[in-house]
Amino acid sequence: MLNKRIIFALLYCDGFFYLSRNFRLQKVGDIDWLINNFGFGDTCHFIDELVCILVKKKPTQEDKKKFLENIEKLRKKIFIPITIGGGISSIDDVENYFLNGADKILINSKIYDSELMFKTAELWGEQSISIMIDYQAINNNEDYNIFTESGTKSLMTLSNFKDNILPKIPYGELILNSIDKDGNGTGLDLEIMKNFNNKIKSPILLMGGAGKPEHILEGLKIKNVSGVLTANLFNFLGSGLEIARKKSIDNGISLANFEKSIRL
């Protein structure tokens, strides 16, 4: 049977990896720190996928090139699926991300650009598009505003988006990222799933707020949640993700058991 997923997200800007809290960024360390001090290679034994996001506002082509070069250093020794996003402004960017190691691309600001969405689906298939929706509650959680441009621009509400945009665009999965919960470590926004019934035929993943292994388990317990993302470099430092994985499996969540003992 298909397993659920625990995914780690790396936030990158100008040579460094960042923590994010309510969309405000805090510098943590560079690529060497990530590999040598954070022990990133070991961490990857306990995650199903990696997401790498360029979080710089209005990045230049040079910024994107450096971002991809940083990912290249990670990719050489990591053999798990990678989604790359942030800063995509054209079909050339999409192509460049695929040529530089993306299995899927992450779309946020370009979700309303149907030409780019359909062209990407035509060339790489719908399954290669992950949509990330940054949202914030309004009217006492009655609805949500959907943000693009690193949480700075909102064109519509979630209900409007669900009815009028989502059914018309090609995509493979939907990542719901709570701006209110982002980086605060108090647990995922599980309530948001009440807005998604079985009409959405693609996998849905939750992001924002996971601060300890129990939070990941809580998210994965929800029937229609296919996976949980965390970008919290500190709370899941060291064995955090290994514990989260074990705890989830012990509680009956179906997660892949990666065989580390196979000798290559």
């Binding site: 053999f79 798990i80 299995d103 065989e259």
Partner: protein, 205 residues
């Protein structure tokens, strides 16, 4: 001398990952754009991220279709991944129209039949129950491998099927016939189990 491994580069698909995996395993990898150069390699990998329609058109346009048939006849080793596997069957309906595959195996590539409980695409790690052929050496049965696809192979023929995986229905996740191998999953994205399959393939002489 190190073996030289060719990775077919038709411009679409994450070939960088396959390239890195082969280098990591200690082999020389080369991205090959020209079908005429195919016999330089003892092992060829046909990767694939992308749509069946797009890939099918490109392998015909650049002459890969014919050269891969010649290569397969020669007994040298060929491995298809994901869309690369799908292309080895008769045809595929992704993209709205039916496009021809290479035809090494009998069967068609069509969309999963969806019902209320089934999300598409089929994405994530799913378990693979496999027969113990040489390429599966040292890999435990029911190991998890990474899938990302909405189309799968339907075949009435059970010949050559090495593994099936369940997602709403049983579909073919690995097939082999003598020197031709193909997986619907991505071995280059499936931790050590996937790397081991690639290693077993590259070790074939």
């Amino acid at each position: 001398m190190k073996k030289k491994i060719g990775i077919i580069n038709i411009g679409y698909g994450n070939i960088a990952s396959v390239f890195n995996a082969i280098k990591f395993l200690g082999y020389d990898a080369c991205l090959e754009k020209n079908p005429k150069n195919i016999f330089k390699y003892s092992h060829i990998i046909l990767p694939g991220v992308g749509s069946f329609a797009q890939n099918s058109k490109l392998i015909n346009k650049y002459g890969w279709n014919e050269s891969l048939k010649e290569y397969a006849k020669s007994g040298l080793y060929l491995f298809g991944i994901c869309v690369g596997m799908q292309l080895m069957f008769e045809d595929g309906s992704e993209g709205g129209e039916v496009n021809k595959g290479i035809g090494f195996f009998k069967g068609h590539c069509d969309k999963f039949i969806t019902n209320n409980d089934l999300n598409l695409p089929h994405v994530g790690f799913n378990n693979v129950k496999h027969k113990n052929t040489k390429i599966w050496n040292d890999i435990p049965n029911d190991s998890p491998f990474y899938f990302v696809h909405s189309y799968r192979i339907c075949s009435t023929s059970k010949v050559n099927i090495i593994s099936e995986t369940t997602y709403g229905e049983k579909f073919i996740s690995f097939i082999e016939n003598q020197n031709i191998f193909a997986s619907q999953f991505h071995p280059e994205k499936s931790h050590n189990s996937g790397l081991k399959i690639l290693k077993n393939f590259l070790s074939l002489n």
